[in-house]
Symmetry: C2
Subunit: 380 residues, 2 copies
C-alpha cells in the first residue's frame, strides 16, 4: 500500500475514528485504526465493538486533491499517539507506505516514522445494515436533541437500560426520552421518513454513543440519515458512518408517569431562576445531595433556600411572572433542575406542581416539544 | 462591621488571596479569608503560613467609588466556595454586615447569604518587614524571569533546597538559578536598587510561591518592589502584598558546573528544533524516560532519533545553521530540552557539547542573559 494524503484531513479523520477506540479492549486489533486505500480514497475505521466509526477521505473534494493513491491496500496502526504523530508532522502532506510484515513508514518533509502495523485481515467487519427504514434529521437539530436528553440518563449500572436514551417514532414524530428514575427529559420532533409506516418504540441508544456522535457531527443543517435495525443504529453523515449497538431490554413506560393536573403553577424567567438555584446550590453541594427548598411566601412570591449548618444559609426571593393555585413547600435536587434549565431554549419556563410529595413538570413556555419531570426529595 | 463593595473588585481580591489558602492547613483559621474594613478601604488576607497574600481595595479608584464603609471592623470567612458565592451574586454591589457571634450577612439584590464567620483575633499577624534593602523590577519582566527559571526546579523532596529558585544580587545584577540536578536554567537581569551596596547570594524562593505570584501579577510594566530579609521575601505591587517564606539551607554552587570549552557547536532554528524533539518524544514518552538520541551524520548534518521497540522509530534530519567541531553521538532527556526551548526568546539557539558523557550548554544567540545546562543520559 502506498498513498500521499493531505495532513489536515487525515488528522480530522483519525480524531473522529479514535473516539470509538478504547485502550481497555480485550481484542488487541481494536486498539488500532484500520486504514484502507482504494481507488476512490482512504477509509479509516475505529471500533470498541459497541461503537464503530468509519471516516472516508475522498480523492478529491471541491476540486482540491486530498489523496493520491499509488498502490491500494490496507493496514491497522496503533491508535495510541497516532493522532498526535500525524498532527505534528511538519509538511502539508504525508506519504504512507506499507512494506512486508506490515512495516509502515510515514514520511513528511525531514521527518520519518517507522511504525509496526497489525494485520488488517484480523480486524472485525462492520455490521451490514439494510437500509429499508431510513429517516432523516438535520445535523444541528440532531445535536440539539442529543444535548437536550442525554444529560438525564442514568450513570449507574443498576438498571442498564436507563443508561440509554429511548427513541420511538409514531406517525412521523420522533420522541426521545431519558430518565435516571429521579428526573426525566423528553423531546419531540417531526422527522422525514422514506415510508409513512415507519414506527418503532423500544430503540434504546447508549448515552455514551450519543455523546460521541454529538462530538463528531458538524453543526450545520445537512441531513443525517438514520437507520434502525434489531440491535444496531447507524447514523450516516457526509463521509462519516457511525454505528452503535442498542441496549437490550425493555425501556420503562414513561408516558403515564407524567401528571396531567396541577395544584400550583408558576411561570419563571429561565435565566433568573437558573442563577438563583445555582447560588442556592453553593451551600448544598457537599454531602447535602444538592437539596434545595422552595416555598411560597404569600402574595404569589417564592423563596428558595438551602442550608449547611457549618457554613450558613442562602435565601433567594423570586417574584414569578405568573402564579396560580395553592401555597406550596417542596424540596428537590437543585442540580437536576439546573441541568434541565440549561437545555431549555425558552426565555420563560412553566412549572406545574401537584403537591410536596409528587413529581412536578417543567416546560418551556415558547413551544411544546420538550418536557422535564422531577421527583421531589423528602427532607423530614 | 458593615460596608458595601463593588462586586468585580471584591471577586478579584478574593481570588488573589485564595491562592495562598490551603484546605489542608493544620491551623483552622487559615482556611478562611480575613476581611478588614477601615476608613481607607477593605483589606483581604489569605495565608498558608508559607505564602501570605494581602489585597487592598481602596475606597475609590480613578474617581470611581469601590467601597462605602458604614462601620469599620474585621471578620474571617471560610474561603471554600466564597469566591464562587461572591462571583454569582446578582447585583453590581454587595453589602456585607457582621453582627454578634461573627454572624455575617452578604446581600445583593434578592439574594441573601448568612455565613458563620470566625474570630479575626485568632488570625496570625503577617510578618513585619523592614524596607531597608529594596530593589525594583517591572511586573512583566518579573513574570518572564519566573517563567524562564521556575520550570527547572526539582519536584521531588529528596533535596528540598532544589525545589526553590536561587536569587543572588551582585553589582546591580540579579541572577536567578533553578536546577533539579539533571538540568539547570539561569537568567540574568539588571535591577534598580535603593543602595548600590545591595548584595545577597543564598535567597532561595520556593517554586510554588513563584508560580502563585506569577498568576497574580498583572502583565504590565509597573514597578514591583522586592524586599528580602533573613527568611522572607516580600513583593509589593499595586494594592497587593505577596509574602513568601524562603527555603532553609545552602543552595549548591552552580557557577563552576558550567563548561567553558566546546568540542562540538551547533546553531539551530529554535522552532524547528523544538518541533523535531516534540515528534521524537512521541515515541519515547512511555517508560522510556523521554530519551532522545542526537548524532552527527557527516556534512554538518544532525539526525535525531527515538525508538520504542513495540511501536516503532522516529528519525528527524536537521541541517544546522552553523556547525563546528567534532562528530558527536549523545542521548538526553528530550522533555528537558523542550521546557528550555519554550522559554528561550530567540529565533536561534547555540548548543555547545563537550563530549557524549559531559553536560552541554544551550543559549539564545540574540542575547546573553540566559543559559541552560543539561546532563546527557547514558544509553548503553
Amino acid at each position: 500500500m502506498k498513498f500521499t494524503i493531505n495532513r489536515d484531513h487525515f488528522v480530522q479523520s483519525v480524531q473522529h475514528v479514535s473516539k470509538a477506540i478504547s485502550p481497555r479492549t480485550t481484542i488487541p486489533v481494536l486498539t488500532g485504526i484500520k486504514i484502507v486505500a482504494s481507488e476512490d480514497g482512504v477509509t479509516l475505521t475505529g471500533s470498541d465493538s459497541d461503537i464503530s466509526i468509519e471516516s472516508f477521505i475522498p480523492k478529491e473534494d471541491e476540486d482540491i486533491q486530498l489523496v493520491e493513491i499509488e498502490e491500494p491496500g490496507s493496514i491497522v496502526l496503533q491508535a495510541r499517539f497516532f493522532a498526535e504523530i500525524v498532527k505534528k508532522l511538519p509538511e502539508e502532506t504525508i506519504e504512507l507506505t506499507v512494506a512486508d510484515q506490515f512495516a509502515t513508514t510515514l514520511k513528511s518533509g525531514s521527518s520519518v516514522f517507522n511504525l509496526n502495523g497489525l494485520d488488517p485481515d484480523e480486524y472485525p467487519r462492520l455490521p451490514e445494515i439494510e437500509e429499508d427504514n431510513v429517516f432523516k434529521l438535520p445535523a444541528d437539530l440532531l445535536k440539539n436533541i442529543i444535548r437536550q436528553t442525554v444529560f438525564a440518563v442514568s450513570t449507574v449500572e443498576t438498571r442498564p437500560i436507563l443508561t440509554g436514551v429511548n427513541w420511538a417514532i409514531e406517525e412521523g414524530q420522533l420522541m426521545c426520552t431519558a430518565t435516571d428514575s429521579h428526573r426525566l427529559a423528553m423531546r419531540n420532533v417531526s422527522v422525514e421518513t422514506n415510508t409513512n409506516e415507519l414506527s418503532f418504540s423500544n430503540v434504546v441508544i447508549p448515552g455514551k454513543s450519543l455523546n460521541e456522535l454529538n462530538k463528531i457531527l458538524d453543526d450545520n443543517n445537512e441531513l443525517t440519515d438514520i437507520i434502525v435495525t434489531e440491535n444496531q443504529i447507524l447514523f450516516k453523515a457526509k463521509n462519516i458512518l457511525f454505528f452503535s449497538r442498542l441496549l437490550d431490554g425493555n425501556y420503562p413506560a414513561t408516558k403515564n408517569m407524567i401528571p396531567t393536573q396541577s395544584k400550583t403553577s408558576v411561570t419563571l424567567d429561565t435565566k433568573k431562576f437558573l442563577q438563583a438555584i445555582e447560588r442556592a446550590l453553593l451551600l448544598s453541594r457537599d454531602g447535602k445531595n444538592n437539596v434545595v427548598n422552595l416555598k411560597t411566601i404569600g402574595n404569589g412570591q417564592l423563596e428558595i433556600t438551602s442550608v449547611t449548618p457549618e457554613v450558613g444559609k442562602v435565601t433567594e426571593d423570586i417574584v414569578p411572572l405568573e402564579f396560580a393555585g395553592e401555597e406550596l413547600r417542596i424540596s428537590f435536587n437543585g442540580k437536576n433542575i439546573i441541568d434541565a434549565l440549561k437545555v431549555i431554549d425558552s426565555t420563560d419556563v412553566k412549572i406545574d406542581f401537584t403537591g410536596a410529595m409528587s413529581p412536578f413538570v417543567m416546560k418551556p413556555t415558547e413551544h411544546d416539544n420538550m418536557l422535564h419531570l422531577f421527583s421531589p426529595v423528602r427532607t423530614y
